[in-house]
Amino acid sequence: MPRRLDLKKVMVIGSGPIVIGQAAEFDYAGAQACRALREEGISVVLVNSNPATIMTDVEMADRVYIEPLTPEFLEQIIARERPQGLVPTLGGQTGLNLASKLSELGILEKYDVELLGTPLSTIQKAEDREQFRALMREIGEPVPESWIIDSDAALAELSVQDNLPWPLIVRPAYTLGGSGGGIAHTIPELLEIGGRGLRLSPVSQVMIERCLVGWKEIEYEVMRDANDTCITICNMENFDPMGVHTGDSIVVAPSQTLSDKEYQMLRTASLKIIRALGIEGGCNVQLALDPDTYAYYIIEVNPRVSRSSALASKATGYPIARVAAKIAIGLHLDEIENKVTGRTLACFEPAPGLLCCEDSTLAI
């Protein structure tokens, strides 16, 4: 399908200030997307509250607004510019949250602005824990067993259940930094840590889950277009296993300790998930792989351009944000030119002849 000719003006939301979780990677993505849209003859309206970005340079977009990223300000800009579409998945979590807010408040409907790329319902399905777990069960992809417990009685009842996947991790709800949690290997430990968690949690609630500490932490960057063509851009392996936060670790792309059977097993799972969610654009799938068997669990999915997609882009030379922007305006992967070779298409899987490491601890 060629690009949608009804789209003349499109709005892109930037990611705002650079803080942890909204790193400069989103500027890289947003700038790429603006270029990709303008290449197709679309007029781009860019909004970002952070003037210290490349994307807010005057030549990146047709109109640049440096305004607070709130629904009130965005509504005024929409009323003035009247864009036909909005690309929400390129400005990190900030862009995504704002787009959801604009939709909830009826602002998009009022001004007839279409959300482009991955549908909002898909984003909700990926981000809502229960909806996501239900979808994973439906398509047969494993998620770690977990229980929400809100009383000592429920905790006691759980502790004596048969076939509990020991050890279990206990996470009290709404405590600062998850304090008061721990790993339980036995029933007495579970009762002790769980009981303490219930008392520490302001809402008297703990989540108990299969503990995956020590498993390999693997990610896949995948893309899908409206024709259901799915490709993997790159996978990544955390130097430290599950239990050490990615932000405290080193990420290696591509994975270095997976055999082809393991690599393909997790690739197949990632593509199955992006298909089931119906994402149109990029997506990041995080998985835990047992270091001693083929067992794995799906940890989470980011239905958007993320910190990892910037690393995957740099490691492979594949412009994820550029291609995601083209997909959002209706192009299929086999209709997008590969800028790197100039003669092939964006529909292939990069095979980088290199090993790329990112040490997040140095970046902060």
Partner: protein, 365 residues
């Protein structure tokens, strides 16, 4: 580690260090862009007679394991890598790549600028080469230039095919279907993929006359992948012609696709540097869908040589437009140029085995 040298017939010399077995080896120098799956590639009979170069720069990281073999031994003539991993780590591993190549008598070279080597091959096409830990570059070049038998003059299929017929998969009583395989260099994962669908296979040597295979009265025929130039395989093309005419479902993969095309009246040509990797986009012309495929072939069918009344090109490669699949317009006969059995590579197209099984179901009625 001891010095070793890689010499190409165009005179290019690459100095490196030797690993695996010591000695000298000759072969056609080809490259594979896969990031994983080196053991599957090493044991793939389609690499017979070739010096396999991995473009991924760090190889051997996860060791070797028996579950990853695709035939009964290492098939490549030699192995070329940028860096051999010093330490291997994976729960399945039974040994290191270095020890594996020592045991199989395979000569390897590391420390080569594989990017430069790949550039030379992409620009000049695949060519003969030699790796040696014992001879000088000058000696090797002289041998390469005075040699009269290049890769393209040898019937590699006759060297890799099974000597005796054998069976694989469920017992006769448990099997849903029985398939006769023409073995030009079968990969175990094809037999595993069929077995997991309830198909028992009998694997025949490539020189088996069609009448012998037809006499076993199978539900279908499978034409395997394999090494080398299909134009040298007149005997196998005659066999395939008779198998098509037997009227049962036929499925071919890789060389099997080429043999099928030749049997139906087409011919093949040599690609400049082949397709070897796990990332080739292929478009299905019937559905408009695109899949990422695993590939390993140096020849392709000329689409204009195929009789359009009988044969339809069903799939093409999006990188260079070459033929990736065929089907017969009137008979339950189809083939694929890439590897739906993966191993190594993506599992996106294994439904073709289901399609083959369905066509046997339909034929059985």
């Amino acid at each position: 580690m001891a010095e070793a040298v890689l010499v190409l017939s165009d005179g290019s010399v690459f100095k490196g260090q030797h690993f695996g077995a010591a000695g000298t080896t000759f072969g056609e120098v080809v490259f594979n862009t896969g990031m994983t799956g080196y053991q599957e590639a090493l044991t793939d009979p389609s690499y017979a007679g070739q010096l396999l170069t991995m473009t991924y720069p760090l190889i051997g990281n996860y060791g070797v394991a028996d579950v990853d073999i695709e035939s009964n031994g290492v098939q490549v003539a030699g192995f070329v890598v940028r860096t051999l991993a010093d330490v291997a780590s994976n729960w399945r591993m039974q040994g290191t790549l270095h020890d594996y190549l020592v045991k199989s008598g395979t000569v390897g070279i590391q420390g080569i600028d594989t990017r430069q080597l790949t550039r030379v091959i992409r620009a000049g096409g695949v060519m003969m080469g030699a790796i040696s830990s014992t001879e000088t570059a000058g000696e090797l070049l002289e041998k390469l230039q005075s040699s009269t038998s290049g890769y393209d003059q040898i019937d590699w299929v006759s060297r890799v095919t099974t000597k005796q017929p054998y069976t694989w998969g469920p017992s006769e009583a448990d099997a849903r279907f029985h398939v006769a395989v023409l073995d030009c260099g079968i990969k175990f994962n094809i037999l595993r993929s069929l077995a997991s669908r309830g198909v028992r296979t009998t694997v025949f040597p490539a020189s088996t006359p069609a009448s012998e295979m037809i006499a076993t009265n199978p539900d279908g025929y499978f034409l395997s992948p394999g090494p080398g130039d299909p134009a040298l395989l007149g005997y196998a093309i005659t066999t395939v012609t008779a198998l098509i005419n037997a009227g049962k479902p036929v499925m071919g993969i890789c060389l099997g696709n080429q043999l099928l095309g030749c049997a139906l009246g087409g011919h093949t040509y040599k690609l400049p540097f082949g397709h070897r990797g796990a990332n080739h986009p292929v478009k299905d012309l019937l559905t408009g869908k695109v899949v990422i495929t695993s590939q390993n072939h140096g020849y392709a069918l000329d689409p204009d040589s195929l009789p359009a009344d009988d044969v339809e090109v069903t799939q093409i490669n999006l990188n260079d437009g070459t033929v990736e699949g065929l089907r017969h317009r009137h008979l339950p006969v189809f083939s694929i140029q890439y590897h739906p059995e993966a191993s190594p590579g993506p599992h996106d197209s294994n439904q073709y085995f289901d399609q083959f099984v369905s066509s046997m179901e339909a034929a059985k009625g």
